[in-house]
Symmetry: C2
Subunit: 352 residues, 2 copies
Amino acid sequence: MDNKTKNRPQTPPPDGGRPTLKTIAFMTGLGITTVSRALKDAPDIGAETKERVRLVAKQIGYQPNRAGVRLRTGKTNVISLVLTLEEEIMGITSPMVVGITEILAGTPYHLVVTPYSAVKDALAPIRYILDTGAADGVIISRTEPHDARVALLTERGLPFVTHGRTEMGIVHPYHDFDNERFAYEAVRKLVARGRRKLVLLEPPPHLTFYSHMRAGFERGLRDFQADAVGFHQTNIDHSLVEIRDAFEILMRSEDAPDGIVSGSGSGAIALIAGLEMAKKKLTEDCDMVSKSPSDFLRWLRPEVMTMYEDIRVAGRELAKAVIGHIDGQPPETLQSLSQPEFQPPITRGLRA
Amino acid sequence: MDNKTKNRPQTPPPDGGRPTLKTIAFMTGLGITTVSRALKDAPDIGAETKERVRLVAKQIGYQPNRAGVRLRTGKTNVISLVLTLEEEIMGITSPMVVGITEILAGTPYHLVVTPYSAVKDALAPIRYILDTGAADGVIISRTEPHDARVALLTERGLPFVTHGRTEMGIVHPYHDFDNERFAYEAVRKLVARGRRKLVLLEPPPHLTFYSHMRAGFERGLRDFQADAVGFHQTNIDHSLVEIRDAFEILMRSEDAPDGIVSGSGSGAIALIAGLEMAKKKLTEDCDMVSKSPSDFLRWLRPEVMTMYEDIRVAGRELAKAVIGHIDGQPPETLQSLSQPEFQPPITRGLRA
DNA sequence: CATTGCTACTGTATCGTTACAGATTTGAAG
DNA sequence: CTTCAAATCTGTAACGATACAGTAGCAATG
């Protein structure tokens, strides 16, 4: 066979299979290379040729074979969402996945969920992804001030974004909820209601947003002249039963607070239960502000003032940020902070 | 170069990269083919050789390149979870993803989340997966009695499992919650409390479990001699506000029921709101049984009797079933039904 | 001693794509 | 009439793995 046409498929590709570059090459009479280059709009391909190739490709519904691309170029077109199995407790995963996929839908990226058990090494899934080249970008959450995962990913140059900030002098993409501001505004609100002895159900101390929330809480106490009641026996990572029982004890003590800031929506449920077991009543003995990623508190306990943390939007921001990072945008342009706002009460529909 | 050793890598593979078959071939002095076959325990490789190869592979942490395997064999090692973006409303996705990944963690499979907008064609993601060979198996939910996705997947021979059953004479793997039994037991419970005018907040009529739940409800009415109050204006797919408003009207009418069966946990919230807006009280004017995939109802409205639907376990069952299907196990052995059970009240901890 | 059959191993081609290094044509410049 | 450059296209090799069709060596068979 003449060299000149050796790269041109001589046989029509089998019918059943999906179209490949070869199919298009055969149909257009061009070489496979030319077709490949035409589809990526390379400068050394004629305008008319590109047009023809694009037309045929579209007609037959050509979609590049991911395995082929991945093998040749190393590009996986995968974003990996790294989750603790325990994360579901907060019911946070679901809207986040939805938010991420909303953004990825308009891109060639697929979302792969990579779980790990918090009991074990949180680095394990990161290492796996790095070692096997399993993804082009990674989304991680539950960040710590000095986060080993962030260090490792940065060192190895794999694009990522964190849900939450770090404090290690590394500038990296992140999205975060402004927990400092949340706690500050919560205190403001409680003091405005005449509450002066405030308690905070805080995040676990090793996570970065622990100090954010505490800082906001304490700044609020200073600015609005209220006092803190210590409550460090439990945090939002503990079981509802643990939180409830610890809080009941507190509410029965001399030190019982009259204002509560809850760092999580499910934690709020437990606090309410503890409070009621201590025979206290919301709005009478106590007011409460809670962060809430869903609606149920507003519906079932409208007396709790809630600030909505929109996890779905967070998912969208995170997805945009990883992709930006992959595309080489500077990390400092890929950081965002979502501002808490008090939610209006449920509209009372019929008879408002 | 002598043909005999042409397949033996002559140069040590570059250090930085991850190990491949070539690396092992070089280290053992064997051919690439031999290494490949040894690792899959092929019968034509010597026992001692296999041992050596396995040892080296383990030492250097060899993991097969997924793109290579996928390109050559078509095996993707991917399970695709196909979700409606709207599904998150029920907060169902999160524990399901966790359950699935728990099972997949012990396998070579990755979980890819493939969303679609219910507004558009539910077949679109299925077609995408079929056309691009994106997955070895598919998990779908929100099944209908005659489900086009099930028909298509079956026709094209792609393994799948459904969350929910179908009624089209196709024997396929599924996992389902026994909604018939749920509604039946709910009616029994309500009647035992002296309730006789019962209402059902039902699933949307086009889904299979609509008729299951209705059948259970009606069988209960017959067996326990109660009456149904019609309430078809809304279903569990409607917004909480819509459900609440429709239910308030019902509760203010002549026809007001004294027993409620709620087909979803979030729907229950809206029903409670509607009921309270109509100045009625749970346990006094009305009792309620609700399906509940989470804990908050039990905590915040202990007077509602709940049957827990464990979505996490469902995820596990679904994952096991798809893999079973991929492995060629007969579909009829991959069907499971989870039995509803009433949940005990929250233990009152300290002073029980 | 040739044949057969078995065991244990190996080379080649291929999946679909792209990087790279040509190759051909055309037209303009010298 | 060269020579050169630009424009456009093409072949080859490679990514890592595996299916397939061998081959070499050796023992048993007739």
